[in-house]
Symmetry: D3
Subunit: 141 residues, 6 copies
Amino acid sequence: MIYITRRLEFCASHRLFNPSFSDEKNAATFGLCNNPNGHGHNYVLEVTVKGEVDPETGMVLDLKALKKLINEKIIDRVDHKNLNVDVDFLQGVIPTAENIAIKFWERIKPHIHNGTLCEIKLYESERNFVIYRGESIESIH
Amino acid sequence: MIYITRRLEFCASHRLFNPSFSDEKNAATFGLCNNPNGHGHNYVLEVTVKGEVDPETGMVLDLKALKKLINEKIIDRVDHKNLNVDVDFLQGVIPTAENIAIKFWERIKPHIHNGTLCEIKLYESERNFVIYRGESIESIH
Amino acid sequence: MIYITRRLEFCASHRLFNPSFSDEKNAATFGLCNNPNGHGHNYVLEVTVKGEVDPETGMVLDLKALKKLINEKIIDRVDHKNLNVDVDFLQGVIPTAENIAIKFWERIKPHIHNGTLCEIKLYESERNFVIYRGESIESIH
Amino acid sequence: MIYITRRLEFCASHRLFNPSFSDEKNAATFGLCNNPNGHGHNYVLEVTVKGEVDPETGMVLDLKALKKLINEKIIDRVDHKNLNVDVDFLQGVIPTAENIAIKFWERIKPHIHNGTLCEIKLYESERNFVIYRGESIESIH
Amino acid sequence: MIYITRRLEFCASHRLFNPSFSDEKNAATFGLCNNPNGHGHNYVLEVTVKGEVDPETGMVLDLKALKKLINEKIIDRVDHKNLNVDVDFLQGVIPTAENIAIKFWERIKPHIHNGTLCEIKLYESERNFVIYRGESIESIH
Amino acid sequence: MIYITRRLEFCASHRLFNPSFSDEKNAATFGLCNNPNGHGHNYVLEVTVKGEVDPETGMVLDLKALKKLINEKIIDRVDHKNLNVDVDFLQGVIPTAENIAIKFWERIKPHIHNGTLCEIKLYESERNFVIYRGESIESIH
């Protein structure tokens, strides 16, 4: 059992706000990230798949195919975009790193057949990052 | 003569376009960076000052004071902002890394009295960065 | 369930020695780190909290509040300090990365109420780092 | 229980191919990595050992001894080498990151007595890396 | 006058030796890098062009075009290659970082028309890198 | 003419103060760096030598010899040391990055015969670094 990770980057803008909050509550909750005209980041995405090593190839999976999948399903949709308005699969979602990571998981999970998707790590910056492993509370002791 | 550099970071969104261009020309000129709803970056800014070492302190200048100056004149104005609409000193300027670096130079040059500002280095990402040294064509052989 | 991490830095000096050891045993045990006048590092600290995403905010917790907590309880106490003599909560402890990480865990664990502290990662340098997850031997199979 | 990691680097060349495949299948399977004359990488290796902190030393183990072990058993054997032909313990193995990580695990596992080897992380580049934790399928739920 | 840099990466293998040297002299001169079966690196290439900012675009040049040029003239020719045998423009050259940088300069210099090529920086690793600025001894005071 | 750089690291502690200043003036001048018991850093040192490429070797100089020289003259003397008390060539000098860089220049300049020492770059952290090029005011226009 090996864990293999592919790292990719994209840059995007976003604004954090909840349309059902008052302006004051949005400002208090989201701070600088609530700036009405938005701001942005160079995001770093790490996708980790676990699986057995195929003895014929020495590989868990074809990394070229994994890269192609991530580019098609995620990077091409979010790179150089405004995450609040340009990305259909983020519509109706506050684009925090947490929510983006969960949505990325949902985007590619059904398409990974060699090995099992086990982790999405998303860096908003070197200082802030989140990890999603597909866990729900019930499945955690 | 020593060159001393302070590195700071900010995140911001921008859109590259020239209002006098047609949509087609804007798209052809600026590519992905022309996305109407913008995108963003974690910018890294390095400010370099050169000067003599003061024998009483062993320092060219007070780095705390330099950091305070850069924060007041630059970082607090651009961090978590939209560079096209939120920053008065960038109004009327296409917010490319080149133009931003030049404007940053102009913002702090008059306020550096211990030593001489000699370089602004601005990373839009690890892959793209610009350096401005206050040079005009005439002053370069 | 999401894991969210905040990264911070501090610089400090330390000396590794056990006052109950002979000088020879201290030198043999701690090597270069036993230098009587100490040495130092730029430490990097990553604090990871896990929790559910609040659907109203899209966040596990308020990162600004987490940063404030870590600064008050840890960074302000150790940054630009000598870990052997300046830090009350490290008194009587050999300031190895292992021990510092455990003490940091104890410092902030009681104060994290949104989500659960799950990991302290402490880099002494890029080449050496430790992780503490609050585990005792008994709780590990 | 603490996890302590030592990071080391080596540079090496390799070529990915399966001698039982046709040239066409090798090219299709391994892509650019199948180049007949090979290519190479600056590999980064992180070895993680977990254990209890010895109260007399504040350490899980002697990092100097761990570094010496990794250098003798691994780094000195692979650094500035061709992984296909120069490394006896990789003979008969397709030198993918997956296989190299497993072989590195086997090389040092028997020699770690203070604490337990728990992870080999091998970066082929910043963009591709694998983790091996000694797991076989049977031991994973 | 602005300096704009584009960073790209490639991985390759090489062996340092001078065919007119004896084996002993090759070993003494090139050390580990003389390993007969070669070794390799993840090289990082930074290409810097200087020029005036075009007031219509806010840019020195079209970075997309610069990236395309570097990929065509350099990266596609050396990535995942053996620098001793696979690269026509390096034939007859000992593939040290110094020589590679000079050859890269010669490859792209004639094709840069907006702005002036002013620096090739080539990292063999984080620890070793060279810079070439097109200077010959005569032109330096 | 090529510029070749070797990067090395060391960790050390220091305290900034001028013994002829009052405690108040020391505190005001050096801020956190004036902590009586010191603090420390993981310093990064980059030494750059410029020279012609020897056509017989493709190298400006023997990097192994340069590394050996820097280790003997600098790293072995400052690594895991207290820069205020353990380093003879820093006695009587306030150990700011500026002064350390100048002293490092003086330590190795006389010993570099292949090529010319042209730059010492010293990082106290990723955020603060200095460059010394052996320039005195008189030699700069």
